[in-house]
């Protein structure tokens, strides 16, 4: 049987809103908050009252793929308090009060990347706690610590979710650092070449013009179709190399990194700046102003929203969504007072007055969701099976393959909440398997 090509759906981008808006830097927040039990329990290395430098280890994630968490600012450690986290939970966080001195630790000063070996570079990634900033937050060094031959390093600049332009803005402002980061990522993996994959759409022409002259001999640009989910690792690899793989991209001889990760790595090697900041997009029709802001990890979103004059005065907040992350995979937050993390790319405020209280039809079984599922599932069937709670049947329907891209709910003509049912089904299967 011929392999089914991945479905390609164009989604309206709404990216002009934030691109045409303000581009700000906000690198001196009053204090930053670092979660102590996300993604799992972390061991804390500092006591309250101690002064820490920017880049000093605050916490360590133990175990396989462990990594340190560095302080993004210099200042004083305060008591642990509970704050809203982008996962929509209130979790304990260490507060670090800023002393506005921006004092860096010595570890990463005067790095000489020219003379560094592959192992040195991987160790820098490890010591600096560099995380994938596309969303999954997988430690970057884990991708490079491999014995398998690497053919290509792909920089994922697809940014396929609507509204978000944080990678775009970072690359626009730091193109040299991107190329620098990619250069040493190639070195760290012994790859033959590097590819920057970005979408073929009008707004990206500016990036292409900037990046083209900077590319080195073993680097190239690759244009993806303007579809969703073009930024999905599997999609990018299949398009760029034509290969598919089992579990990890390394099986296809490829390492994929997000563009912001590459820039952060580039700045770490070039300026000694520890991974501590990234651009975040603030946008949506409920915001007074839209744009991008360069912010420290752990900044309270409240402060960032104030830079854009907060949500509009006339907006009824109970009829407005405060989305943390992209509109397809993000969470609606209870409160606008949560803290940012390295994987957070955007905060989107959307008005919902017109949709509240509307009555939608039942699923009409048109199969549109199945047609558009990137992993060949049939969401409508899984939803029906979920009601009977038949776990074996759910597994047979492939629920464990679901990537929660949100495509099924997006294309449904009846507004059926398929994606959340898929998540419930996936969690049910995982619980029963245990």
């Amino acid at each position: 049987m011929k392999k089914r090509p991945m479905p390609e759906v164009h989604i309206e981008g709404f990216k002009e809103m934030s691109i045409n808006g303000k581009t700000l830097e906000y690198l001196s927040p009053k204090s930053v908050f670092l979660p102590t039990n996300f993604p799992s329990e972390l061991s804390v290395l500092v006591k309250p009252g101690v002064r820490v430098l920017m880049g000093q280890k605050i916490m360590i994630k133990e175990g396989r793929f462990g990594y340190p968490i560095l302080s993004p600012i210099s200042g004083t450690v305060k008591e642990t308090i509970r704050k809203w986290h982008p996962s929509n939970k209130m979790i304990p966080m260490i507060e670090i009060e800023n002393d506005f001195k921006e004092e860096l630790v010595d570890t990463f000063k005067n790095l000489n990347p020219e003379k560094m070996t592959k192992d040195d570079l991987v160790n820098v990634m490890k010591d600096s706690g560099l995380l994938g900033m596309g969303g999954a937050g997988f430690p970057t060094y884990a991708k490079y610590e491999t014995d398998k031959p690497v053919d290509q390093v792909i920089i994922n600049l697809a940014e396929c979710e609507p509204f978000i332009t944080c990678d775009y803005t970072y690359v626009l402002n730091y193109p040299n650092e991107l190329i620098f980061g990619l250069k040493y990522m190639i070195k760290a993996s012994n790859a033959k070449s590097g590819v920057i994959a970005l979408k073929n759409k009008e707004i990206n022409n500016k990036l292409i013009d900037i990046l083209m002259p900077l590319l080195e001999n073993n680097m190239s640009l690759f244009l993806l179709n303007d579809v969703y989910p073009a930024g999905w690792e599997r999609y990018v690899i299949e398009k760029v190399t034509g290969k598919s793989y089992g579990v990890l991209p390394i099986e296809a001889g490829v390492i994929v990194n997000n563009a912001t990760t590459a820039i952060t790595f580039g700045r770490l090697l070039k300026e000694g700046l520890v991974p501590s900041c990234k651009y975040m997009t603030v946008t949506g029709d409920a915001m007074s102003e839209c744009g991008n802001v360069l912010m420290k990890f752990g900044t309270s979103v409240h402060e960032l929203l104030d830079l854009f004059n907060n949500v509009k005065e006339d907006v009824d907040k109970e009829k407005t969504l405060m989305i943390c992350g992209g509109p397809m995979t993000g969470n609606a937050m209870f409160s606008g007072d949560f803290v940012t993390t390295p994987t957070l790319g955007s905060v989107i405020a959307l008005r919902q007055e017109q949709y509240i209280g509307r009555r939608y039809p039942h699923c009409l079984g048109c199969g549109t969701c199945a047609k558009h599922c990137p992993v060949n599932l049939s969401p409508y069937q899984i939803r029906r099976t979920l009601r009977s709670g038949d776990v074996d049947e759910l597994i047979a329907l492939g629920i464990t393959k679901c990537i929660q891209c949100g495509q099924c709910s997006y294309v449904c003509p009846s507004h059926v909440e398929l994606t959340s049912d898929m998540l419930i089904a996936r969690d049910l299967v995982r619980k029963m398997k245990r």
Partner: protein, 379 residues
């Protein structure tokens, strides 16, 4: 602390952005039915009035009355069922009205009247509509939850319960005066005839007339050309998958062609089989109904192949005039199994020894039915 709205994601919906949602899909179906409805009114009302052969004005405009009353009955039954069952959080009258807007209650009634004999007694029609609507749709849980096509449930109920009322009800008062229309419809003529002969086609004004649809038959089913216009509209609007009608009609054409050749007849025989009765209407509007047909390409092709064979079976072997309705209702159940199998096949994305059982069963059934059709269909 300010509180924002919390709902489940994703927060963008193509239904909101592109304005293509279930309601516009159902509206497209209604638009696609317009040519058939227009032709039905032309043939059964306008032509009768022009020729001036009618007993009373009520009798002359009777088709229009049924076209209005049947959807209305179906809508009322829907409202009563919803109110009695109190599903989907219906508490006030306003909820009910809102729910009726998204449960599309007129469709079963509209479809039933279009596939019923034109002059069916009003009470028979309305009882059938009520049965189709309540038993076929609401008892299963309403729109989108039904296993069988509600319209065909009502039509099958009509065929098996009130069969004595159906025979004469096909002909308009004008058509009753034409001697050539010995039996009611071309299909009943063929069923009564001792042997296949092209005379049947000629009695009904030739092949071209069968295509246009000016011959006795069910209200909306006779004009293949009007149905074809609707089909093209639906395919362009991506409401139906072309695979089902094309494969269905193709299968029927192929099998009846073989049967025709064995009987020493030409190509008129398969064309006659496709152009008459509810085949075209069933292929375009009934077999493709999203709720009850399989959702994947492979599943749809398997479904349509078996459907074609079953229709030939019921029509030529079983000598049942309502072969299309019965075969589609039968295939609704088989389609469930096909869909389940194909869904799992798609997840694995390759054919292995372990998961090819369904295709093998399908092929065995397909070949057996094919042989049976050809052997028994010859007369």
């Amino acid at each position: 602390m300010e509180k924002y709205l919390v709902i489940k994601g994703p927060y963008l919906r193509s239904a909101d952005i592109t304005k293509r949602n279930t309601s516009t899909i159902m509206r497209d179906v209604l638009i696609a039915l317009l040519p058939s409805i227009a032709f039905a009114i032309y043939k059964n009302v306008v032509l009768v009035l022009i020729n001036g052969i009618y007993s009373s004005i009520y009798h002359a405009i009777y088709p229009i009355i049924t076209l209005i009353l049947a959807p209305l009955t179906s809508l009322i039954c829907e409202a009563i069922s919803l109110w009695v069952m109190k599903k989907r959080g219906i508490k006030t009258f306003k909820d009910l009205v809102e729910e009726l807007k998204v449960s599309y209650g007129i469709f079963p009634g509209l479809f039933i009247v279009l596939i019923s004999p034109t002059y069916i007694p009003l009470w028979v029609l309305l009882v059938s509509v009520a049965v189709g609507e309540v038993v076929g749709k609401m008892l299963f849980g309403g729109f989108g939850q039904n296993i069988f096509n509600p319209a065909l449930v009502g039509r099958a109920f009509m065929a098996f319960t009130f069969s004595s009322h159906l025979g004469d009800a096909y002909l308009t008062s004008y058509e009753l005066t034409i001697d050539a229309y010995s039996a009611a419809t071309p299909l009943t003529s063929y069923a009564k005839a001792g042997a296949a002969s092209i005379d049947i086609v000629n009695n009904y004004g030739g092949m071209f007339n069968l295509l246009i649809g000016n011959y006795p038959g069910a209200l909306g089913e006779t004009s293949t050309i009007a149905i074809l216009i609707g089909a093209i509209y639906l395919i362009i609007k991506d409401v139906i998958d072309w695979r089902i009608p094309v494969v269905y009609l193709g299968t029927m054409f192929f099998i009846t062609m073989i049967i025709g050749f064995i009987m020493g007849q030409g190509l008129w025989f398969p064309l006659f089989q496709i152009l008459t009765g509810g085949v075209a209407f069933g292929a375009v509007f009934m077999a493709t109904e999203p709720v009850t047909s399989p959702k994947t390409h492979l599943g749809r092709i398997m479904y349509a192949l078996l459907l074609g064979e079953l229709t030939v079976l019921f029509r030529l072997v079983g000598n049942m005039p309502e072969g299309v309705a019965t075969s589609i209702v039968t295939m609704n159940i088989v389609g469930l199994m096909i869909n389940k199998y194909v869904t799992k096949l798609r997840v694995e994305d390759k054919l292995t020894k372990k998961n090819c059982y369904g295709l093998v069963i399908f092929l065995v059934f397909f070949v057996l039915l094919f042989v049976y059709d050809v052997v028994m269909g010859v007369k």
